[in-house]
């Protein structure tokens, strides 16, 4: 078990430096340790959740250099030098992001466990397509599973946030 994270973590043999929610972070970790575990256990950012551990459910989604990734599939070494955004970095202080407000108003969050990943997926979608069609929303969120909502109110929330952003910018 020489290459298990367990035996090597004690050596903490790699130094990883990256930006997390706009702050520079330096951690020592086993290179193959999951980004998800480093975020949750070393940085205390528990908003990213483990739902399946194999990249199917999307509840561990974070943004890495602007791309939506499943942090359970990313070895932390790969994040060296990267810029990471987690759910904790979406609101501006006490001011919620338009997506967070819309999820609250539309019922996009029920049990809340998929919500951080879902909001990041929606955030990513709106960056690429500020005014998505319903079909684009369905497609854009299809990597993030939700068992509570049937997605209907999540679609509404994303559409509302998109409309809101449009109104503000015009």
């Amino acid at each position: 078990m020489s290459d298990s994270p367990h035996s090597s973590r004690n050596r903490a043999n790699s130094e990883i430096s990256f930006m997390v929610n706009g702050e520079r972070k330096l951690v020592r970790a086993f290179p193959m340790e999951r980004l998800l575990d480093v975020l949750r256990e070393q940085l205390g950012l528990t908003g990213a959740k483990e739902g399946c551990g194999e990249g199917e459910c999307g509840s561990c989604s974070v943004l890495m250099n602007g791309t939506l990734v499943n942090s359970c599939l990313v070895p932390v070494l790969q994040a060296d030098g990267a810029s990471i955004v987690t759910i904790e970095g979406i609101a501006a202080g006490a001011q919620l992001h338009a997506l967070q407000e819309a999820f609250l108003e539309c019922g996009g969050a029920q049990c809340g466990i998929c919500t951080p990943g879902m909001i990041l997926a929606a955030f990513h979608l709106l960056r690429k397509k500020p005014d998505p069609t319903l079909e684009e929303i369905r497609e854009g969120l299809s990597g993030n599973l939700c068992r509570c909502t049937g997605y209907v109110q999540i679609f509404e929330a994303v559409a509302r946030a998109a409309r809101g952003a449009e109104t503000t910018s015009s």
Binding site: G53, A109, I113, L145, R147, C148, G150
Partner: protein, 756 residues
């Protein structure tokens, strides 16, 4: 005081902000000092006798805490209804995921290796895996006949109806196991202190179920066991009973190690070992008049309970009572049986037996319609229950329900007639690659515990005044997405004429909150909500008697009164306990009487398209119309229905548990497929309010209802598209391929067997 203004409005979810910012605390987000991780070693074989346990080489076993059945301080069982399920196997194992040994270590990676290094050597016994194998009794694995429970509902004289029938229609219907697939896996943290006793924090639905199980297992008095619910990431029934098992395991490891122990399952273990929806088989034999009136029938409902009794008797009971659907049966005999197999015990999942028996009823109605040459609409219309008539358990329908009106509205909303005609025309031109169909399901769902259940529970609810003048609700009812916290606070605010913001709710913690019963059975709003309303009014009365408020007051005057009462008396609390409504009668022996205080009613319509190249079915439109009493929170209510419909679509078309010798083989999200955002149709949700008197401000149960209708509506639509009756779910493309390329359609044989 104003008129009603908080119930019925979409106030913000109490814990919503924490959820959208990632601050909500689930059990896996919690770490205690010196905490160990725990893991479970399971039997691997479906049935046998444990001969020897070997600890393999290459592991520093001295570093591990190891718990076996010998370390259990009290009774080796997970106390629930009966006590037949052991916490850890001692001599015999009865299913392949049966816990045998527990390990704990500070490093969870080391733990995983160690679990693999333990081998449990067993003498294997023959095992049984299906309802039919269990019925044959070639092996007796439970009791004297493999039967956990039987019930029979007998109304009228069923033996007389057959000779009067113009048609006798028979059918057999099956449903598969279904995994709840909450996105947060099951998990618990336990800590032990000789003076304080056991504390567990976890993902769970029913704090007092866990509390009772730990008292029995650890031989501890009530005050030495504390159960705290953490934010819970979905449950759907899947966290009703199994959390007691995990809490028990974590507690044993914590007692032995003297350190806190976290046990959080990974997805594979959660899917394989924890409970699923009971697989079922329902047989119908129905006597129908020439005019299409049901004269009577026999319904046999059988469920596979897995290896231990757990909740099967109550699942059976609910399934049985719902088996006749929302129809009038002059005579009916409904017999039910829960049988044992060597699979992990099946358990609670939204609907609790009703989705299984209602699937059968609603498919059978379409079969009756076909045999009689009536439309699916007409056969239902001619047999709907009406106010004043009696259900199968001889409960008089007192609610002002009008199923015909619901039906008409749903037909209009879905454009049913025009679509049905157009699809039939288009399907005839065989050049089309896609065939389309539209199907309907009408159904009901009883709210609250069945029969005398609520009387036995005797739930207690508290409301207290806080030092800042606000009000706090004290219940053990848990939030796991449905909106428990929000709606109970709305009810208290409404009852007291306060603002929603003036009311908070305690996190369920058995040291802090009374036992308001389990959070199951669509009972929270109707039963617990009514008690919250009553306890809240007690607070107002106390303040009024103390002369601190008059008949009318503002929220700020109320807060001031509350503050001054507390500064003078120290505490302001009011309790309410469940009392059965007058005139309620239920006979547990004969299964007769008021099965539920109220029912919710619905008509759902599904439109499907079947790809004739891939045989995949997709749902194109879904109309869900229901009567659930007063809708207390429109956004949460729509969320409940849409989410339930999505699970129902999965139940019908996607979610198949592949079994091999009692083990789930596809225990991954990669190969057990739940609907994604691109698989689902627009789910259009509508409510009909008829002025109901039950529950807080007229609300009835809502949570389980939407699970009942989608599967039969979809399969009825598939039959409409393909002119082929499918009677088993999940219905996968390969099933359709096999049926269409092989067997002759059953439609003709049905007609032949009808006694005319």
């Amino acid at each position: 005081m104003n008129g009603e203004r908080i119930v019925g409005s979409a106030v913000p979810r109490k814990e919503g902000r924490e959820k959208v910012t990632g601050q909500a605390r689930y059990v896996d987000d919690m770490v205690l000092p010196d905490m160990l991780y725990g893991a479970t070693v399971r039997s691997q074989i479906p049935r046998g006798r444990i001969e020897q346990i070997e600890f393999g080489p290459g592991i520093a076993w001295g570093e591990f805490v190891i718990v076996s059945v010998k370390d259990i301080p009290g009774k080796n069982c997970i106390a629930l209804i009966g006590d037949d399920q052991p916490c850890l196997a001692s001599e015999f194992v009865n299913h392949p995921e049966e816990p045998v040994l527990l390990l704990a270590h500070r490093d969870r990676y080391a733990l995983r290796k160690a679990v693999e290094a333990v081998s449990i050597e067993c003498e294997s016994f023959p095992a049984i895996f299906t309802i039919e194998e269990s019925e044959r009794c070639s092996e007796i694995i439970w009791g004297s006949d493999n039967v956990f429970k039987t019930y029979c509902i007998d109304k009228g004289d069923i033996d007389e109806v057959w000779s009067k029938a113009a048609y006798i229609v028979e059918g057999e219907y099956r449903t598969g196991a279904q995994e709840q697939l909450y996105i947060e896996n099951n998990g618990m943290i336990a800590s032990y202190d000789a003076a304080e006793g056991i504390t567990v924090w976890g993902s769970l639905q029913c704090p007092y179920y866990v509390h009772k199980a730990l008292m029995v297992l650890c031989s501890l008095p009530a005050e030495k066991v504390r159960v705290v619910q953490m934010e819970t990431g979905g449950a759907f029934g899947g966290k009703e009973e199994y959390p007691s098992m995990i809490a028990a395991h974590a507690a044993l490891l914590a007692i032995k190690s003297g350190r806190p122990v976290k046990m959080v399952y990974d997805r594979a273990e959660d899917m394989a070992a924890t409970t699923k929806r009971h697989p079922s088989r329902t047989r119908h034999r129905t006597a129908v008049s020439a005019e299409g009136k049901i004269l009577g029938g026999e319904i046999e409902f059988t469920i596979d309970g897995g290896a231990y009794a757990t909740l099967s008797s109550v699942v059976l009971s609910r399934g049985l009572i719902h088996a006749g659907g929302p129809y009038y049966w002059p005579s009916v005999r409904i017999s039910g049986k829960a049988v044992a197999t060597n699979a992990p015990p099946h358990g609670a999942f939204r609907g609790f037996g009703a989705p299984q028996s209602l699937f059968a009823m609603e498919r059978h109605m379409d079969r009756i319609a076909r045999v009689l040459g009536l439309s699916p609409i007409e056969i239902r219309r001619r047999n709907f229950l009406k106010p004043g008539e009696m259900t199968a358990t001889e409960q008089v329908v007192r609610e002002p329900i009008d199923l015909e009106k619901l039906l008409e509205r749903a037909l209009g909303l879905s454009d049913y007639h025009a679509k049905r005609e157009r699809f039939a025309r288009e399907n005839r031109t065989r050049t089309e690659r896609k065939r389309k169909g539209i199907g309907i399901a009408a159904f009901l769902h009883g709210a609250g515990f069945t029969g005398s259940g609520e009387r036995y529970l005797s739930s207690v609810v508290g409301v207290e005044g806080c030092a800042d003048g606000g009000i706090r609700v004290l219940v053990s009812s848990t939030e796991f997405g449905q909106g428990t916290k929000t709606v109970l606070c709305q009810i208290a605010a409404e009852a007291l004429g306060l603002r929603y913001e003036d009311v908070t709710i305690a996190q369920p913690d058995t040291m802090q909150v009374p036992n308001s019963g389990p959070t199951v059975a669509s009972r929270t709003v109707m039963v617990v909500g009514k008690l919250v309303e009553s306890a809240a009014r007690g607070i107002r009365q106390t303040l009024s008697v103390a002369g601190l408020i008059g008949d009318s007051y503002s929220a700020d005057e109320f807060r001031a009164a509350c503050r001054s009462y507390i500064s003078e008396h120290g505490q302001l609390r009011s309790w309410a306990q469940y009392e059965p409504p007058p005139g309620i009668f239920w006979d547990d022996q004969k299964y007769r009487g008021e099965a539920y205080a109220a029912y919710s009613w619905a008509v759902y319509i599904a439109e499907v398209s079947v790809d004739m190249t891939t045989y995949s079915v997709s749902v194109k439109d879904f109309v869900a119309l229901q009567e659930v009493g007063r809708v207390l929170h429109p956004v949460l209510a729509i969320g409940q229905i849409a989410g339930g419909v999505a699970q129902g679509i999965g139940f019908a078309l996607y979610e198949k548990v592949i079994w091999q010798k009692g083990r789930m083989q596809n225990n991954q999200m990669t190969n057990y497929i739940m609907p994604t955002s691109s698989d689902l149709p627009p789910i259009r949700v509508f409510f009909e309010e008829l002025g109901n008197v039950h529950g807080a401000f007229g609300a009835k149960g809502i949570g389980e209802l939407p699970m009942d209708g989608p599967a039969p509506a979809i399969l009825n639509a598939v039959e409409d598209a393909l002119s082929f009756p499918f009677d088993s779910i999940p219905l996968l493309p390969e099933d359709i391929f096999e049926a269409l390329s092989g067997r002759p359609p059953e439609i003709e044989s049905d007609l032949a067997s009808a006694a005319q």
